[in-house]
């Protein structure tokens, strides 16, 4: 990991990886969308609306994945002071927030035809909504604190506190009431979804993940560039 600690080296390396990553992302989306919209059959219960699952579930997965990334990067930044850790955390937030927003909206659009309501306060949906608030709060901290080092530390602590809170909220709302479908993909005895519906879901999941990595990499490079600009501008003012 130390090898990538140098921002310049990271910038050069990421520049080589990026085109491949972007190409893979496009390919995954192409295949995924084809499977989702053309190949996948109608669900015998939900009809066409089952296709919403292919954009909703990956978005929800990414919402959690991005926040976990932020928490991990924050922990690394706090403990080992890895110079790019704070940057990685900061850059993942807008991407994760967008995925969370999508999860909420598509979830609503899926819920209305399925259950008849736009919104339900069950454990899953409530946790995702709170997750959205956590993202907003996290991004607000970076905006509000001007000193970059202090902003990084405060944001990191906030991210970790929030990360601990999400499962607690899920547990408490679960405890209180639940309406959502039980998790039907990651199970010890195999997925409960039929193969025809599982394949598009997994491919779309892969596409979303690749998209995150691509955008994350670009955003980190962008941040490195911006910090370089700041250094030069400061030098100009002084010299």
């Amino acid at each position: 990991m130390q090898k990538y600690a140098n921002p310049t080296r990271f910038y050069a390396l990421s520049g080589k990886v990026l085109p491949w990553l972007a190409a893979a992302t496009l390919l995954a989306f192409a295949v995924g969308l084809y499977l989702a919209l053309v190949k996948a059959p109608q669900d015998y219960q939900q009809g066409e609306t089952v296709r919403i699952m292919f954009v909703h579930v990956p978005a929800a997965w990414m919402a959690m994945f991005c926040y976990s990334t932020i928490a991990l990067a924050s922990a690394i930044g706090l403990v080992w002071r890895h110079p790019l850790a704070d940057v990685a955390a900061k850059c993942a937030a807008p991407i994760g927030a967008s995925f969370t927003f999508l999860a909420l909206v598509t979830g609503s659009l899926w819920g209305k035809p399925m259950w008849g309501t736009w919104w339900v306060w069950d454990a899953r949906l409530t946790s995702v909504f709170v997750l959205f608030l956590l993202y907003l709060g996290y991004m607000a901290i970076w905006q509000a604190i001007e000193e970059p080092l202090r902003a990084a530390r405060v944001a990191a602590i906030v991210a970790l506190v929030g990360f601990v809170n999400v499962p607690i909220i899920k547990f408490s709302v679960d405890w209180w009431n639940s309406l959502h479908q039980p998790a039907s993909v990651l199970r010890m005895d195999g997925p409960a979804i039929h193969m025809d519906l599982l394949a598009p879901l997994l491919v779309m999941g892969l596409a979303y993940t690749l998209l995150f990595f691509t955008l994350h990499l670009i955003a980190i490079r962008s941040e490195i560039t911006r910090r370089r600009i700041r250094v030069i501008e400061l030098a100009e003012v002084q010299g």
Binding site: L37, V38, Q42, G47, E48, T49, R51, I52, V55, H56, A59, P94, I95, S98, F101, L102, V105, T106, L109, W110, K112, P113, L211, L215, I218, A219, R221, S222, T225, R226, R228, I229, I232, E233, E236, G239
Partner: protein
Amino acid sequence: MDFSAPHAGFVIASYLVTFIVLLGLVLATWLRQRRAREQLKTLEERGSRRRRRAGKDGDSA
């Protein structure tokens, strides 16, 4: 996909909003990086120009 099926509108809306948000995200991220790169280039050119000029006049920064 059967576009005449009941609730097809919800499916279209979902994919549409997904497309718009993700496209917006991609554009925003990429344009930010481009603007930063251009700004950096301008600054570095300015710096090297100043250094060349300083070298010619014989005085040091």
